[in-house]
């Protein structure tokens, strides 16, 4: 018998979160934007918009386009650069009652290490996520997450700069995501965020113009959920560090798919654009789900997808 409320707490490296939900980078500001109508007492942490060494204006508009069961975005890492960020933004986070995780993007190993070190040095920042998988920048942003060696270099360099929890965010736009995950883990990552957006494009049949100013963008939302669940499942089979599963989570049932596939925590991005009450609802319903099944903590379902075919009739399969 479970006597106390089931625990939703999770540890990512040294970072302990009361709730296993992280608001996806770039989708939630610092949380302040959503605080008037979302209950931020019931989230694990907000992952901040990715920041770079130098300021960036980002991509031309349109930066967003709605697609079936999802959306494409190409923000292009608009941000004020690490200097201004540390001086003017980060101090505000000291007063926030929720945890914020910094997110670092860059164009060289040195960029990453530099920004990571400066960001991680700040008390306001609970942990750092390395966005090595942003598909929306003209230069080589995503090649880091597409190349096992580059992934290892970036993670190793950043690891050397901080003891704080280091989450490495992987791209689905690769032939073998598990191989990249192993490199990241080997180079010192404490956790893996799986997945960033899937590369995509949309064209207006009337005007013949791409619907995004940047031509191509990243697909998010329920459309990509099956892709993300599989990525988590494949990474979980090889990695020993915790996974933050994300991509199209809108309901508790969706979140459970990720836990069962092997995620220790989940990310919620695009769903906040549908209804800002979703993260709170998922927190409450996850607790009910565990309670109804007499489970003491969320950890008890992580990776428990039963892939033993028990659901199908006895079957001989193929020989060919």
């Amino acid at each position: 018998m479970v006597e106390t409320k089931p625990s939703l707490a999770v540890k990512l490296g040294k970072l302990r979160l009361e709730y296993p939900t992280l608001m996806g980078s770039g989708c939630y500001g610092s949380g302040q934007e959503f605080a008037p109508f979302a209950n931020l007492n019931k989230i694990g942490a907000v992952v901040l918009k990715s920041v770079t060494r130098l300021p960036r204006l980002g991509n031309p508009t349109p930066r967003l386009v709605h697609t079936p069961a999802g959306m494409l975005n190409a923000i292009g890492l608009q941000n004020p650069g690490i200097d201004w960020y540390l001086d003017h933004e980060v101090p505000k986070y000291a007063k926030l009652p929720w945890r914020v995780v910094g997110s670092v993007a860059g164009f060289s190993v040195d960029d990453y290490a530099y920004v990571c070190e400066r960001l991680a040095a700040r008390d306001e920042i609970a942990a750092v996520e390395l966005n090595i998988s942003c598909p929306n920048v003209a230069s080589e942003g995503e090649t880091f997450a597409c190349d096992p060696k580059l992934t290892a270099s970036v993670v190793r360099a950043c690891r050397a700069t901080t003891d704080k929890t280091l989450i490495v965010k992987l791209s689905p736009n690769v032939t073998d995501i598990a191989a990249i995950a192993l490199e990241a883990e080997g180079a010192g990552a404490d956790a893996l965020a799986v997945i960033n957006t899937v590369r995509g494009m949309s064209i207006d049949a009337e005007t013949w113009h791409p619907r995004l100013g940047n031509v191509t963008g990243g697909l998010s939302g329920p459309a990509i959920r099956p892709i993300a669940v599989l990525a988590v499942y494949e990474v979980a089979r090889v990695a020993t560090i915790p996974i933050v599963g994300q991509g199209g989570i809108e309901t508790t049932r969706d979140a459970l798919e990720f836990f069962l596939a092997g995620a220790a925590a989940v990310g919620i991005g695009t769903a906040n654009f549908t209804d800002p009450r979703i993260p709170e609802r998922i927190a409450d319903e996850l607790r009910d789900y565990l309670w109804n099944r007499n489970l003491a903590s969320i950890g008890e379902i992580v990776g428990k997808a039963n892939v033993g075919f028990a659901n199908v009739y006895e079957y001989e399969g193929d020989e060919g």
């Binding site: 770039g26 989708c27 939630y28 500001g29 302040q32 934007e33 959503f34 605080a35 008037p36 109508f37 918009k49 130098l54 300021p55 960036r56 204006l57 980002g58 508009t61 349109p62 930066r63 967003l64 386009v65 709605h66 069961a69 959306m71 975005n73 923000i75 608009q78 941000n79 004020p80 650069g81 201004w84 003017h88 933004e89 505000k92 007063k95 926030l96 009652p97 329920p222 809108e250 309901t251 695009t270 906040n272 654009f273 549908t274 209804d275 800002p276 009450r277």
Partner: protein, 274 residues
């Protein structure tokens, strides 16, 4: 927690009335006293899809009186279609009001309001407020064709003078509504809402006439609350509306990218870097 700008929340409203003003143009009345109480002219709400299966939709608050707020929209895709299928008595949750509306603090005495198509949805509240404050308000209202010039009489009732224009000449002036603006006797202030090409023309004409203009801009939104930086427009760095979390000024450029949903949707036309 830091102090918050606005007492906005998610409001559960009920559909009180529904009219199809023209094919594909719907007016939804909502029982929404909290929205009415909080709304400033030119603000918008994010309407949460009843199915839970798409992003919320940005819609201007058309009317706001007593307990009833209303939304006026064109059915252009999945999301507006879903909203158009709501029936009286059904529930619609909205986030808001959001954004910065029209600045009517200058006590203008003669105002021209330029509305193009669905832009009409964002200008009834400022028109009413201006008339109440004693201003003479001229509405210049254009659409593709006569049938789409919905709700013109509503502005008459509100005390505005009207000039209509249609692209096909089926009613009023045959041509662009901005042509009418060029010929207008002098006004103190111009307000405009409509398609981007119309707004650009208004900005150009306002500059020529030497009249200040406020434009309500549109862009595809995701969050609607300033969290995703998906809806930007470049404005001059010195604008009071330049975002507090400033976009980069890489290369020392003279402009910054402001969020239409947060710093706008209404901007002074002379501060836009168009």
């Amino acid at each position: 927690m830091t102090t918050l700008d606005l007492p906005v929340r998610v409001h559960a409203t009920l559909v009180t009335d529904r009219r199809e003003l023209a094919p594909g143009v719907v007016l939804l009345g909502l029982d929404a006293p909290d929205v009415v109480a909080a709304t400033q002219p030119g603000q918008f709400v994010m309407a949460i899809p009843p199915s839970g299966e798409a992003a919320a939709t940005a819609l201007g608050v058309y009317e706001a009186e007593g307990k009833r707020a209303s939304l006026l929209f064109f059915v252009t895709g999945n999301r507006t279609r879903e909203l158009s299928e709501l029936r009286v008595g059904e529930r619609l949750d909205v986030v808001g009001p959001l954004g910065n509306g029209f600045d009517l603090s200058g006590k203008p005495s003669r105002v021209a309001i330029v509305a193009g198509g669905v832009g009409i949805a964002s200008v009834l509240l400022p028109a009413q407020a201006l008339v109440r404050a004693g201003a003479r308000v001229q509405l210049l209202y254009g659409a593709r064709t006569a049938a789409l010039l919905v709700e013109a009489e509503r502005f008459n009732e509100a005390g505005c003078a009207l000039a209509l224009a249609t692209d096909d000449g089926t009613t009023g002036y045959h041509g662009y509504v901005t042509d009418l603006l060029e010929r207008l006797p002098r006004v103190d202030l111009i307000l405009a809402c409509g398609p981007t090409p119309m707004l650009r023309a208004v900005a150009r004409i306002a500059a020529t006439l030497g009249v200040r203009a406020q434009l309500s801009l549109e862009e595809t939104f995701a969050c609607g609350v300033g969290g995703c930086w998906g809806c930007v427009v470049p404005i001059v760095r010195t604008s009071a509306q330049a975002p507090r979390f400033p976009p980069a000024n890489a290369g020392g450029s003279d402009f910054v990218n402001a969020r239409i949903c947060k710093e706008g949707p209404v901007f002074w036309s002379h501060e836009l870097r168009w």
